[in-house]
């Protein structure tokens, strides 16, 4: 009982810190964006685009740090350009999607590491880019993530049916007169923003999990696009909250804790799917 009370007291104290409040707000907003965008990306089999863009984000943040420039001012435009490039390379069939991502992400990381080794060397900033730190977030991140989340939510409410049509069957949507290129580009740009904002908290190596895990978990539980989209956003928020509290209580890295909670949620959802299949068969 005493342990439980002290744990609750510890959680209460955690929310009193300004940096934790910022991390909570930014994290919740990024979780919602990542899950909503992730629904379309995962179902279009572009799951790895998040991973590729996070590596590009890492490379550009590293270069910005080495040159003493504002990290977001460099990372955002570079990652957006990379997102467009990935889409074009994949759509035009000049490279297979996975090969294009591998090419871009390895090149970006190599450039980042090369520039850093020539200048500042591997320091705490670079380490934070790789594995994330909630201390890295500032007021600007709160504003940026709020605007991003508002844009993504408005996009999904107003264009939900078209996003569904483009995700389910791009050729049919195109034949129906829907400007599929516009929607794909919009999704790519918003994903690039989400990755850059979220990676400083989650780390370049882990941010793509926010795009993929909640959607995979939701797909185990629900069979309609609307239900999967809503459930993925809810699961993403829940896993983020549990993850950050776990991280605080066990003094573990935030990004890794959130990913492990997401993994546990996925395994539970998968087990539930398997159990339902067994019940149906018997």
């Amino acid at each position: 009982m005493t342990d439980f009370s002290s744990a609750l007291g510890g959680l209460g104290a955690m929310f009193a810190y300004t940096f934790v409040q910022r991390a909570l707000l930014v994290g919740l907003l990024v979780s919602i964006c990542a899950a909503l965008l992730g629904t379309s990306l995962v179902l279009k089999r572009y799951s790895m685009i998040g991973d590729g863009l996070s590596h590009v984000g890492f490379g550009s943040l590293a270069v910005a740090t080495a040159l003493g420039a504002a990290p977001l001012a460099v990372a955002l435009p570079v990652t957006v350009v990379a997102a467009f490039l990935l889409l074009r390379l994949t759509e035009q069939g000049k490279l297979k999607g996975d090969a294009a991502i591998a090419l871009l992400s390895a090149s970006a990381v190599a450039i980042g590491v090369f520039v850093i080794s020539m200048t500042t060397g591997m320091n705490t900033d670079v380490d934070n880019f790789l594995f994330g730190s909630i201390l890295a977030l500032n007021e600007g991140d709160v504003v940026l993530s709020s605007v991003l989340c508002a844009v993504v939510l408005v996009l999904f409410v107003l264009f939900y049916n078209r996003i569904f049509a483009v995700t389910f069957d791009e050729v049919h949507a195109q034949a129906s007169g829907i400007r599929t290129g516009l929607y794909s580009s919009l999704l790519a740009v918003l994903t690039a923003f989400t990755i850059v904002v979220g990676m400083r908290m989650m780390g370049a190596l882990l941010i793509s999990s926010l795009v993929v895990f909640p959607v995979l978990s939701a797909m185990c539980l629900r069979g309609s696009f609307k239900a999967v989209t809503v459930l993925a956003a809810c699961l993403s928020v829940a896993c983020y909250l549990i993850g950050i509290m776990t991280s605080f209580m066990l003094a573990t890295p935030t990004g890794a804790s959130i990913v492990i909670i997401n993994l546990c949620a996925y395994l539970v959802c998968r087990a539930s799917l398997w159990a339902r299949g067994r019940v149906r068969r018997t």
Binding site: L43, K44, R45, L158, F159, N161, R162, F164, A165, F168, D169, V171, H172, A173, Q174, A175, S176, G177, I178, M219, R222, G223, S224, F225, K226, A227, V228
Partner: protein, 254 residues
């Protein structure tokens, strides 16, 4: 019957490389045209041209000026990603209406009623809440057909199907062919179907178009069955052991 589409010396190219050449055929209202040929012969490229997704690099492809191109329904080839897609049957059928909606697209009660009517017509009304991924291959194809039919309240004029029978069991294929034939004969919808299943197709189509990166044959199904190219293709498809091709190994008609 009036002419719906005239193709004159049409060539489609990708980045300067011709995918299919010398297309010269006419599609009349009420026709049931089956396009056959090997993989890579340009069948799906022709479909893209019909849908306006690709322009001929040479020649002309002209629809009747009175024809409203928005009255084309399209049933695409299914991708492997689609087969397990988490979407309800109603969501998919309703998405057929989006081409005619304004920028901000919400479905009205009338749209939902129309989707229900179409589902009932295709005997899918009991599946409207089911997930697409849970359906059988035949049911999935019927759902995609329902989406195509849902597109126009005043009815379709042309239905384009790109290999709708791929991966289906023979008895399911027959049901789907019958369904398309009913749409053709009862509702007067002109049909253009791309298929590999030449021996079944000749039982339903009124005209055949054989491609092999260029046009090898165009004519009535009867002419196709008596043309050496048609007979060879039918014999190759079934190994000479089916009643439909009627040529047998060694060639009864040879």
């Amino acid at each position: 019957m009036s002419v719906l589409l005239t193709c004159t010396d049409v060539t489609f190219s990708y980045e300067g490389r011709p995918a299919v050449t010398d297309l010269c055929f006419t599609l009349e209202r009420g026709d049931y045209l089956c396009v056959v040929g090997e993989n890579g012969s340009g069948k799906s490229t022709l479909v893209k041209g019909l849908l306006g997704l690709m322009r001929p690099s040479k020649g002309t492809m002209a629809f009747d000026p009175a024809f409203d191109c928005r009255r084309i329904g399209y049933v695409p080839q299914q991708s492997s990603a689609q087969r397990n897609f988490p979407a309800s049957v109603t969501e998919i059928v309703l998405s057929g209406l989006l081409g005619h909606k304004r920028f901000f697209s919400f479905y009205s009660a009338a749209d939902r009623a129309r989707a229900r009517d179409i589902l009932a017509t295709l005997d899918l009304d009991n599946l409207h809440k089911r997930s697409f991924g849970e359906l059988s291959g035949g049911q999935q194809q019927r759902v995609l057909l329902a989406r195509a039919l849902c597109g126009r309240a005043d009815g379709l004029e042309l239905l384009v199907l790109d290999e709708p029978m791929s991966g289906l069991d023979p008895h399911i294929k027959t049901g789907l062919y019958e369904l398309v034939r009913a749409l053709n004969s009862e509702q007067g919808i002109t049909v253009c179907m791309v298929t590999h299943d030449v021996n079944t197709a000749v039982g339903y189509a009124s005209k055949m178009l054989l491609l092999s990166t260029h046009q090898e044959f165009f004519g009535s199904t009867h002419e196709f069955q008596h043309n050496p190219l048609g007979r060879d293709l039918m014999r190759d498809s079934c190994g000479g052991h089916c009643a439909v091709c009627g040529v047998g190994v060694g060639g009864r008609d040879d």
